[in-house]
């Protein structure tokens, strides 16, 4: 009762329908926490080298956060882990909502699935008893309908994670949904669940989650709450101008994440829609355009104030006092929908040159129900449009769709085809890299991916840190692991010794200078986010600053350990290195994951916010790898590094 972890995992073999409870030694939690760390530990040790991501040897894990349920805040994220069929690398995706505590309430820190079921099944866990049940009547139904049907049967307290038709049809850009529209979307792990014929995981437990010192946990949470409700005297119409100012100013200061939290609290992630476009953070027109192609006159339809008008009530994930989500009323087929996130709005909007907000609401809900990643789906649609505009795809290929920039109707029809895997949609449903391989004719030049995964809507030509993490992380193409901006907001230098503190004012161009400090900053972000994903912490909470959101303090109070921030950074380093070792074990060459030239600014853009900028990832990579003790030429962890971190 006084430990924050349950000390057990459930291993389900779908091939022979057996379920085994396993106790995990305390030492593993001390080294890796749970969440992504425990997932990496199990997958690294148990998955045979070279396992087919879509075969029976792939292991899919649903891992709850280490701090979930301990009285800490921002700690409600669960991590889905597996070998990604999209990239062939380590794959993870995380999601908020209510699923993370539900795993622990069932008495487990994580539930893993291996093998392949002969027919559709779902896992049901209640009062310490797990069973596999037939899901033939649920197969083919969308994620929201399935969740509603399961909650009707098992009661509203049951937490459900489910795949939609995209996962069932093994789309490599599909994810796993929970809470009627939250989705662990990245890395294509929905396809792994689909191929295993596992439709859903239904958890209905009441086991309590402990903490070593509940009073101290509460004290730290109360301290943290002081920093959440920080009113922002900024009207929505000004946000585009803030972006424009950030574009033109040559000198900037380290940003305090508390401003960002205020934006999140007021508008959600969509608060950055126009600001990002104007400052050059959002890629536009399949990464080939700039803010000049999508000026404020076009982007005003996605101004956060307009999106906010549709919001009925805010939606908070478990243990989050900010509440960046929202439930909206929308026009058309789906009257209620989750408020589209920044990533979804920009991927389905700016990247495809689409300013029709109604279509974005519709597509967001369509993709959430289908269980398809909005980032990858938008990026693939934008790629298809460019192929059509350049004459590589014809009207015959598209089934009569006129895929021109800004043709909303055609884009909506295209994404519907992708969800249904119908006609050209079948070709595009596995992301841009595979689509380009099938189309040929030089279409590879229009793809933007890192190791096969489409990067998120943050341009590494605006913040070069994004390009470092898109290219060098064990999970390529992920934006939630680090950036120059994230480093500023985490404010880790206030707690961790020996890491650089940004100057009070610096030029924007200095961010592009390649030096040891940048490599150190990127490595610190990776270590900290690996730790945070093990703890189940939300990145948006961490933006408030390491001193105000006491992750290290919560970890010590929850466990009774007396570790220093530096010790915890070593835990993050160990998780990160284990993921990289996983990739190496499976034959991945880290150099092959570098992001496409277009996103690196090769050739540089001729106009707009990121005009003339390029990032030399070849020069940046060795410095980053060196920070972890990985080989500076190949990016593979050295023997001595693995030994030092205790990885066998």
């Amino acid at each position: 009762m006084n430990k924050p972890y349950m000390g057990k995992i459930l291993m389900v073999d779908l091939s022979n329908r057996t379920m085994t409870e396993e106790e995990i030694p305390d030492r593993v939690y001390e080294q890796y926490l749970s969440g992504m760390g425990l997932g990496a530990y199990i997958l690294y040790n148990r998955m045979p080298a070279g396992a087919d991501p879509l075969g029976p040897d792939n292991i899919l894990g649903f891992c709850s956060g280490f701090l979930t349920g301990t009285g800490s805040l921002f700690s409600g994220r669960w991590t889905l882990v597996g070998k990604s069929p999209l990239t062939g690398c380590w794959g993870d995706a995380n999601c908020g909502g209510t699923f993370s505590p539900a795993i622990k309430h069932c008495g487990y820190d994580a539930i893993f699935f291996k093998g392949i079921s002969s027919g559709p099944v779902y896992l049901y866990v209640k009062n310490g008893k797990a069973s596999l049940k037939d899901a033939a009547d649920l197969w083919g139904r969308d994620a929201v309908e399935t969740e509603e049907a399961l909650k009707k049967q098992y009661g509203p307290k049951a937490a459900v994670a489910v795949i939609g038709p995209a996962g069932e049809k093994v789309s490599l850009i599909s994810g796993v949904c929970s809470d009627k529209g939250r989705i662990a979307a990245r890395s294509g792990l929905g396809a792994v669940m689909g191929v295993k014929k596992l439709k859903a995981v239904v958890l209905d437990g009441v086991q309590r989650i402990g903490a070593h010192d509940p009073a101290e946990m509460k004290r730290l949470s109360r301290h943290c709450l002081k920093w959440v409700n920080f009113p922002l005297p900024l009207p929505g119409w000004m946000l585009g101008f803030v972006g424009a100012f950030l574009r033109v100013t040559p000198i900037v200061f380290p940003q305090d994440g508390i401003l960002y939290t205020s934006i999140l609290r007021k508008w959600g992630t969509g608060g950055m829609n126009q600001t990002s476009i104007e400052m050059g953070d959002s890629p536009l027109k399949n990464w080939d355009g700039s803010n000049r192609d999508f000026p404020m006159s076009r982007s005003r339809t996605i101004n956060p104030d307009i999106v906010r008008r549709m919001e009925i009530v805010k939606y908070h994930c478990y243990s989050c006092p900010v509440g960046c989500g929202g439930i909206c009323a929308a026009k058309g087929k789906y009257p209620h929908t989750h408020k589209p996130e920044y990533e979804s709005v920009l991927a389905l909007g700016g990247l495809c040159m689409n300013e029709d907000l109604d279509s974005i609401f519709y597509l967001n809900e369509l993709l959430n129900r289908a269980g398809m990643d909005t980032i990858s789906a938008g990026a693939t649609a934008a790629f298809a449009v460019e192929c059509y505009e350049k004459g590589i795809l014809t009207k015959e290929d598209t089934g009569g769709l006129e895929l021109k920039w800004g043709n909303t109707e055609a884009m909506v029809a295209l994404i519907r085809k992708m969800v249904d895997r119908e006609g050209i949609g079948d070709l595009l449903a596995d992301g841009t890299k595979i689509a380009a391989q099938k189309i040929g004719k030089g279409s590879e030049a229009f793809t933007v991916h890192a190791g096969g995964q489409e990067p998120a809507m943050h341009d590494g030509r605006c913040d070069p840190g994004f390009n470092v993490h898109y290219s060098l992380e064990p999970t390529p193409g992920r934006h939630t692991l680090g950036a120059h901006l994230y480093y500023e907001m985490f404010q880790l230098w206030k707690l961790v010794k020996g890491i650089p503190k940004p100057a009070p004012l610096f030029t924007k161009n200095s961010k592009f200078r390649i030096d040891g400090e940048k490599a150190q900053m990127a490595a610190v972000c990776s270590k900290f986010m690996s730790l945070a994903n093990g703890a189940g912490m939300c990145m948006f909470g961490l933006f408030i600053g390491a001193k105000r959101v006491p992750t290290f303090g919560w970890l010590n109070a929850a466990t009774g350990w007396r570790l220093t921030p530096e010790d915890y950074m070593t835990v993050g380093e160990r998780i990160q290195t284990l993921k990289q070792a996983f990739n190496v074990k499976h034959g991945i060459e880290p150099r092959n994951n570098f992001i496409s030239g277009r996103a690196l600014g090769h050739p540089p853009q001729k106009r707009g916010a990121n005009q003339g900028r390029s990032v030399d990832i070849e020069k940046l990579a060795p410095g980053y790898w060196e920070q972890f003790g990985w080989d500076t030429a190949t990016g593979k962890p050295k023997e001595e590094t693995l030994r030092k971190l205790g990885i066998q």
Binding site: M1, G69, G71, L73, T98, P101, H105, K126, N127, G128, G155, P156, K157, V206, Q207, R208, K218, S221, R222, L225, V228, E311, I312, V313, K314, Y315, H316, C317, Y318, S319, C320, P321, G323, G326, I327
Partner: protein, 148 residues
């Protein structure tokens, strides 16, 4: 530690029916037992047992109380941060987040959706990081005048 049932148990089954963790088992009219691995120490069994046959985790005898007098959560909206920790902490699922906003702003708020299901365990109140939930004995409801 967990709750335990003493020899005084007459096997009426009231506790087993109420236990949210499914931890109590036993045949009708025979001594019931509690599975210590499943018990979450909510105390519902102790409050409902007419035989006073329940000992709490510390070994103290539990006293039966009328269900109408069991404490229920009262939400202090001003302090509530809408983090939904209380909703998750409730073992019977009687709390829910509203699907309409509060008077001011757009935040949802927790409310006692199914007050009959509440077992008065107080887990919601203990878990609340903002001390926005207090357990209160329900005020006696005035009986409506009998229809003529």
């Amino acid at each position: 530690m967990a709750y335990t049932i003493t020899e005084k148990c007459n096997g009426c089954g009231a506790c087993a029916r109420l236990c949210p963790a499914g931890a109590i088992s036993g045949e009708k009219k025979k001594l019931h037992t509690i599975d210590a691995k499943l018990c979450i120490e909510c105390g519902a069994c102790g409050r409902v047992c007419p035989q006073s046959a329940l000992l709490d985790a510390a070994g103290g005898l539990c006293a039966m109380t009328k269900r109408s007098e069991w404490p229920k959560p009262d939400v202090l909206l001003k302090a509530c941060i809408a983090c939904a920790i209380c909703v998750d902490a409730c073992p019977v699922g009687c709390l829910a987040m509203s699907d309409v906003p509060r008077d001011k702003g757009v935040d949802a708020f927790p409310y006692l959706k199914d007050s009959k299901a509440c077992i008065g365990c107080g887990f919601c109140s203990k878990a609340c990081p903002a001390d926005a939930l207090v357990m209160k004995k329900p005020s006696p409801v005035q009986k409506p005048a009998a229809a003529a």
